[in-house]
Amino acid sequence: MINIIHLGIIVAIPTLFAALGGIYTEKSKVFNIALEGILLFSAFAAVCGSYYFSSWQMGIVYAVVSSLLIGCFFIFMVLILKINVFITGLLINLLALGGTTFLLRLLFNTRGAFQSEQIQALPVISLPFLSSIPYIGALFSKYHILVYGGIISAVFVYIHIFETPFGLRLRAIGINNTAAQSGGLSVFRIKAIAILFSSFFCGLGGAALSLGFVSLFTENMSNGRGWIALSSLILTRANPLHTLFIVLLFGIFDGASFTLQKYRIPSEFASMLPYIITLITLAFYSKKHKISYSGYVQEL
């Protein structure tokens, strides 16, 4: 059981980072569906950095820089050219999928997956006191550093959005764009910062994805994590701490699917589990709160 939770937490971390990134854009009402693409591309960049310099620090730097660059592209498209956010997000996802496949071929001359001795994974550390507690000590030990980083980030995002002037402005823009503008806020600047924060966290998620659990890159590695992140933050109405909880829960189900394979349950059904659970939770949650993003309730 402890093992399942342990594995689940590690599996959940990339999704958690993507969800935290999504919270910034969700709060400022920029419907960011590019999480998946940014996650994928930064996972690739992390592998590149780690491979060329044989150091995980450079991996993280590469991941974050590339994700910020994509964030700049997003800002250019959405805030300057004023192209539909939805289309931009899909375009970034498409370009990330094509781009990583192409670069994988161009730089490393492989197809499908890239693995090398030179790629250095994130260091694994244990917390000094908590890990010596009997039974549950294993829950607090032997994680790579971004796991701790992710949980601290969730708290940071919570404070940043709910307790600081910037967070207040961000939420104000999300609630009423025009009112915030007439109140003297620069909507462009705050939205741009929100998008950059969002990309920054996705970049960390990408690094955790390709250098954390395994140290390799495979084609379409993110495999829907960005979408799960998006659905979990819609579920929790973009509250970072609730998101943390739900993402870890999904992660544990995902981790359990590795274990389920031992009990002759087909691995495909085990892999389906997180999606089915998202679907059911979303259905009941939507019914309860009538969250209707396109105004379904009035529309139908």
Binding site: I87, L91, L95, L300
Partner: protein, 348 residues
Amino acid sequence: MKISHITFFSIVIGFICSIIISMSFLTLQGYNAPQGISVLIKSAFGSEISRSIWMYRSTALLLTGLSASLIFLSGSVNLGQQGTLLIGIITTLFLGQKMTFPPIIQVPLLFICASLAGFAWNSILLLFRFKFYMNEMIGSLMFNFIARYLMSFLAAGYFLKEGATSIQSHPLAPSSSVLNMVGFTMALVIVFACYYFLKKHQLGYEIEMKGQNPFFTRLSGCSNKKIVVVTTLISSACAAMAGGFLLMGGNQHYYVQGLEGNFGWDGVMMSMMAANNILLIPLYSLFFAMLQTGAVGMEVITKVPSEFTLIFQGITVFCIIAAQEISTRYLTRLADKERQKATSEDIQ
């Protein structure tokens, strides 16, 4: 039938920009760009076989593009084309192996069954939407993943051919094959039929109006639920038929891993480029299919990796969307200015 001059010009400009950007990209990587592009085009049209493959791919793209366009036109954001396509493949594979009617019955029957299965699949989503007010986009994405794992489960279990070294199914009954040319013509007819349905039929008009303003249609006494159901029916039928055609068309009438490709998502991208204009879908699907078909030939002759076409696709989508957006905005501003000028002259 008309495509406005502005759309036409922005498409041309978008194409030119995308070719310039991709060629400079190739040159920066040290490849011979003009040769690469010309070989890409030549190897897509050069031989009888490649033209047939080109037709095959563009049929699937036409159908998925139409499916995505219709559903976006009605104001729903359903991204489940890839999943519906897989359901179409599963149904066709299952029934195509069992049934052995003469081709004239078999082929239409298989298409109809696939369409119905696609609709049944999407109606679960509709149920979620009507009963639980669920966000349709997230739901359809989850359905995509579920369909994908269902396909890989069935392909590795139920459909698996004994003694096969890779994942491969038994072929369909011989009577269920369709010529690529016939399939392509059928898809074109469906596109034009949908166009006339939208423009000339009352329900089609209601669908378009609901996309622009759902409250307007409700106020005018249309049932929005009915519109949603009809659009989902047509759209999922198209996507599922694309899946069925992937099996029935072409040369090999069995499932191999990766047969479904990325057709559903390409369809979504094409509908984004077409911006609700269904008549543009054939143009884009022919172009995308050309890129995908010529990729291998380009790699063999000029050493440009075939994955380059994925980038080329992305750049084209970007350029065309940007060109359309900018030209529309510029013209609106121009019109606004003229109107202001006219008003101020009136006052004077």
